[in-house]
């Protein structure tokens, strides 16, 4: 099985026709992981029930109405999986075995997908390089001396290196789109509330979204079709009808109105990336869309507002890790306070502690108005910028990242430089919008991501434009290590 030359629909046809079985596919996938992953280090933990589950799907019969039936996928390790260790890449949860499945995992299982394993990430999804994992350093699929991005770095590298066709990731400030861009694949962050967060280990609850990492645009829509929808267990999930996200794929984008914010091509963005995005704009024009320059004037305030809001929410969410009911507990403690303090101090890594500290500070007496409240007001202004543009446009386009993937070890000691790397993805989370990163060429042999952003709950328009763009280019024909 070569995942570089197939897709979900093609495999589904073969499974339905009986020319392959889910058991064969799963066996091949596990063999591929055993062959490739020692170089990439994308997986934290394999599902030893995967083969049995595939056989059960074969025995029950491939569901011809369910494109994921019998198809192996992998899941970021901050999404809980029943009876399968889930660590969020933290020492705090090193031995944590969930007793229930996240809603997205339940939905994948019900669709007949086979979860082959759990993927590496920055600890508790805090980071942009996957270097904050307590367990291993994942490599970029295109250059093993470079980071895969983060926090869903394991998900992106596993898909880009051909180990699985699709993986779930999570995106709080760019954690699906940035690693997708760095690895030359499609990363899709749906509208806030489109996908249930039940069973997602919480980071920034007003920002977190579960989404997809795949090689192709249509594969992304196939997976989102399965995981989207209202969930009574997550009261922030939206009680709206879920369309078939493939509905506009293949339709012409003639007449589509696309906005290109001048701030997204400004200072700090690699000129070669700017050129790649301008080339993409020309391709959209050639397909009959209009692309106009617009302004999102509050863009530069997104990073500071985000780090206050996300860290404040994280400091609150991570209070639950106290060493009592589950998770890491420090040894030789003197009293109850000591259990809390020592368990947290020994169980959390430096970036997580930094965010807890920043968040606790921002919410503390005397600083709340100047920091948390101010950031929440600026968040409103950033959202209004988008609202104004969307009065006249269907999509916003721009680069996903200011640079291509950087070297392992290059930025990890400098938190502020690392934070600035998320400047183009963070505004979307603050506004709760859906957005994707899709392959848009290469700079110095490293992939470039094109970001497409739509109105709330208008994922289908992103898929339409992304598919039109994908069809015009042959970026999927290039694979890590050379042309396929």
């Amino acid at each position: 099985m070569d995942y570089f030359t197939t897709n979900i629909d093609a495999l589904h046809d073969q499974l339905v026709a009986g020319t392959i079985t889910s058991a064969d596919l799963t066996k091949d996938t596990l063999a591929k992981i055993a062959e490739i992953d020692p170089e990439i280090d994308a997986f934290l933990n394999l599902n030893d029930q995967a083969q049995a589950q595939a056989e059960a799907v074969d025995a029950a019969g491939i569901n011809k109405d369910q494109p994921l039936s019998g198809i192996p996928v992998a899941i970021k390790d901050n999404i809980v999986t029943k009876d399968l260790t889930t660590t969020a890449a933290s020492k705090m949860l090193e031995n944590f075995v969930p007793i229930y499945d996240a809603t997205v995992v339940e939905k994948l299982n019900a669709a007949g997908a086979i979860n082959v394993g759990k993927l590496n990430m920055d600890e508790f999804a805090m980071g942009s390089s996957t270097e904050n994992s307590a367990f291993k350093t994942t490599k970029n699929a295109w250059d093993h001396t470079k980071v895969p991005g983060g926090s869903s770095g394991g998900s992106a590298a596993a898909v880009a290196s051909g180990q699985v066709l699709a993986a779930l990731g999570t995106d709080t400030g760019g954690s699906i789109r940035q690693p997708a861009a760095f690895n030359g694949i499609v990363g899709f962050k749906p509208t806030y509330g489109r996908v249930s967060r039940w069973g997602l280990i919480a980071f920034g609850s007003s920002l977190d979204a579960i989404g997809t990492l795949t090689r192709s645009v249509k594969d992304s829509a196939r997976v989102l079709n399965v995981i989207a929808g209202h969930d009574e267990k997550d009261s922030t999930s939206a009680d709206f009808d879920v369309p078939d996200f493939t509905e506009k794929i293949g339709q012409s984008i003639k007449g589509m109105k696309i906005a290109l914010p001048e701030e997204y091509l400004g200072e700090g963005v690699d000129p070669q990336i700017v050129a790649a995005i301008q080339k993409a704009a020309d391709q959209f024009r050639a397909l009959g869309a209009t692309v106009d320059t617009v302004s999102l004037p509050h863009t530069k305030y997104a990073v500071p507002a985000y780090y206050i809001i996300a860290s404040s929410e994280a400091s609150s969410n991570l209070q639950r890790f106290d060493g009592i009911r589950y998770g890491f507990r420090a040894k030789d403690v003197k009293n109850l306070t000591d259990v809390y303090v020592r368990s947290r101090s020994e169980g959390f890594g430096p970036e997580v502690k930094r965010r807890i500290m920043l968040g606790t500070f921002s919410l503390s007496a005397g600083f709340y108005d100047a920091y948390f409240k101010k950031a929440a007001q600026v968040r409103t202004l950033i959202t209004e910028d988008f609202n104004k543009v969307f009065e006249n446009y269907d999509l916003v386009m721009g680069p996903t990242t200011p640079t291509t993937a950087f070297g392992i070890g290059e930025k990890v000691t400098d938190p502020l430089t690392m934070y600035m790397n998320d400047i183009l993805t963070i505004p979307v989370n603050l506004a709760g919008l859906p957005a994707a990163s899709i392959p848009a060429g290469f700079v110095d042999n490293m992939p470039v991501g094109l970001q497409l952003i739509a109105k709330h709950f208008d994922e289908s328009t992103i898929y339409q434009a992304a598919d039109a763009f994908e069809s015009q280019n042959d970026y999927l024909d290039l694979i890590p290590g050379g042309a396929r």
């Binding site: 007793i99 009574e232 009261s235 507990r329 259990v339 502690k353 929440a376």
Partner: protein
């Protein structure tokens, strides 16, 4: 400039302990981050409401229906130390005090 004492206070609120060297490092890093954040002061937010959630959902209400789908023994699978159906924790009274 945030002081080392303030950082130590925040650490206490966060239930985190740091060595003196770590505290110095965190003070410098938090100071850098807060300097970056201080550019928010230049934004006029007079009369601007705060956003705390982005898709404007209203309160969600439902019937409170009791369900019995989690077994006590399952809940205890991840408890570090237990006795029967009780979670065992270290002595709450400080061993260093009488």
């Amino acid at each position: 400039m945030i002081s080392k004492d303030s950082v130590a206070h925040v650490a206490e609120l966060s239930r985190l302990a740091f060595s003196d060297a770590e505290l110095d490092q965190f003070t410098n890093q938090l100071d850098d981050i807060l300097n970056m954040v201080d550019q928010l002061e230049t934004v006029d937010t007079t009369g601007v409401p705060a956003t705390t959630q982005s898709i404007h959902l209203q309160n969600v209400m439902r019937e409170d229906v009791a369900v019995n789908d989690t077994k006590t023994e399952d809940l205890f699978k991840n408890v570090p130390t237990s006795k029967g159906t009780l979670i065992q924790v270290p002595a709450i009274i400080d061993k260093e005090e009488d």
